[in-house]
């Protein structure tokens, strides 16, 4: 009996180890010395980003994360009174974003998080800080494909669990061949080897992929977005910082820091965000009531 108990305990302990190995990293405990003159005192702010999306949210090992999401997050956190070393970066993959906010694992999320009604039932949104649109990434020497209609009879890659590729098949080119992979990195290797003719998702994600050093110069973003994806800042429902975040984003845009961050993160791809989307009604801030 005793032996059985012991082994049960051992199993439980190893399960706990495995589980903790899977939980989002919380390696950066910095910020204790952040100084009390800041509005937030010595508190840290936990910001959820993606770690695997070059150009938006990307982090290798324990190095400083880079990308447009990260730059906006730093600016907004700065406006809220946090210094940069008070920011604790947490990885929030797509499927985990609502749970992370509800469970209090993060204070806000900047992770290519489109504002939708379904999501708004569980979390709150500030922003949007960027308006993206679904677009196509093609080989740099390919001038045939200028929009989703040109994909008839071509091969297209996207990731499992997004409907971007299906949307093209349903609405633009019924004769397109779809391949869905676990990540965009796989799609890019197929695009390079010629097995697919285009990769589809939001334009800024594609630009980020094309801007990585190893892909530099090989691919171009078509620049003909055909959906509207409003990237919001995910916050817990009813969070009172919502208005402050909106003000920070507006200030960032007015100051020109927004444009600068965008250019820096998509350098060398010839990508420019759709002006119409980013200054039109789609870029209006979410109301912070309710």
């Amino acid at each position: 009996m005793r032996k059985k108990l012991l082994s049960t305990a051992a199993i439980a302990a190893s399960a706990a180890l495995v589980l903790s190995a899977c939980s989002p990293s919380s390696t950066e405990e910095g910020g204790e010395s952040g100084g009390s003159e800041t509005a937030a005192g010595g508190e840290t702010v936990r910001i959820g980003i993606k770690f695997d999306q070059p150009g938006l949210g990307f982090r290798e090992g324990n190095s400083d994360p880079t990308g447009f999401d990260v730059d906006v997050a730093k600016y907004v956190a700065g406006e809220l009174g946090y210094t940069e070393d008070q920011i604790e970066w947490v990885q929030t993959p797509s499927a985990n974003r609502e749970n992370a906010l509800e469970g209090g694992e993060v204070d806000m999320i900047f992770a290519t998080y489109s504002i939708t009604d379904e999501r708004a039932q569980r979390v709150g949104f500030a922003g949007p800080y960027f308006v993206a649109g679904q677009d196509l990434l093609v080989r740099a020497d390919d001038s045939e494909i200028t929009g989703p209609e040109d994909l008839e009879g071509k091969n297209l890659c996207s990731v499992t669990g997004s409907t971007s590729a299906q949307k093209i098949k349903d609405e633009f080119a019924s004769g397109v061949n779809l391949v869905e992979q676990g990540g965009y990195a796989e799609c890019v290797t197929y695009l390079e080897s010629g097995q697919v003719d285009a990769v589809t998702t939001d334009d800024i994600i594609l630009a980020g992929l094309a801007a990585t050093p190893e892909n530099s110069g090989k691919f171009t973003v078509v620049g003909n977005p055909f959906t509207v994806e409003r990237y919001g800042v995910g916050i817990p429902k009813g969070d009172e910082q919502c208005q402050a975040i909106n003000d920070a984003i507006t200030k960032m845009k007015d100051e020109g820091a927004w444009e600068k961050a965008l250019t820096a993160n998509t350098e060398g791809t010839g990508y420019t965000p759709d002006d119409e989307l980013n200054s039109g009604p789609e870029a209006e801030m979410e109301s912070c009531e309710a």
Binding site: N99, Q121, V179, E180, Q181
Partner: protein, 224 residues
Amino acid sequence: MNGFLELFADYDIFGAFWMNIRLTLLAAVGSFVLGTVLAIFRISPVGSLRGIGTAYVNTIRNTPLTIIMVLGVLAVWGQLKIEFFQDFDLNFFTYAVIALSLYHASFVCEAIRSGVNTVPLGQAEAARAIGLSFLPAARLVVLPQALRGAVTPLGNTLIALTKNTTVAAAASVAEASGLMKSMIEFNPDLMIYIFLTIAIGFCIIVIPMGILTTWLSDKLAVAR
């Protein structure tokens, strides 16, 4: 309850599970055929065949299925550009069936070999004594008894195969786990219903297999 209705209205859940079932059926046939051949290799009197069988089982059984699946699509399709069919859906389905068959064949082989061990040595000796050479002896005397003894481990392999079909999402096959990802992406408000739908769906497919296995192993057991 409304959550379930909404999910079933918005997503082709039956279609996705049907894909898992088709993958299971075809890969079960594929892995059974290959596994039986491997088992014959491993019990054969020819040293080099035994070596091949052992090498295959040890290599494939110890390689994660995801690696085999991803290698097939990323390397064989993506770089070597080997295509079975022009139609992408059919092509990737074929890749997934092959990967599942190759992987589970090693387990089928070991299940059958464990069945062979339940056949008393005297059976093989008697078969040889009446003049049957190795293959007829294996086919007519040893394997029929071995398969009856191997029903339980074969059933376990089939159950594992059924659940492993979810790995086919890595090969761009639209099955239940891929659909689950889409549902979570677009309906996080229904998270709990999504999990229950997928979990219950697999239970409905797998539990009868377990019952059938138990029933068959009782019914087919060789009384000695």
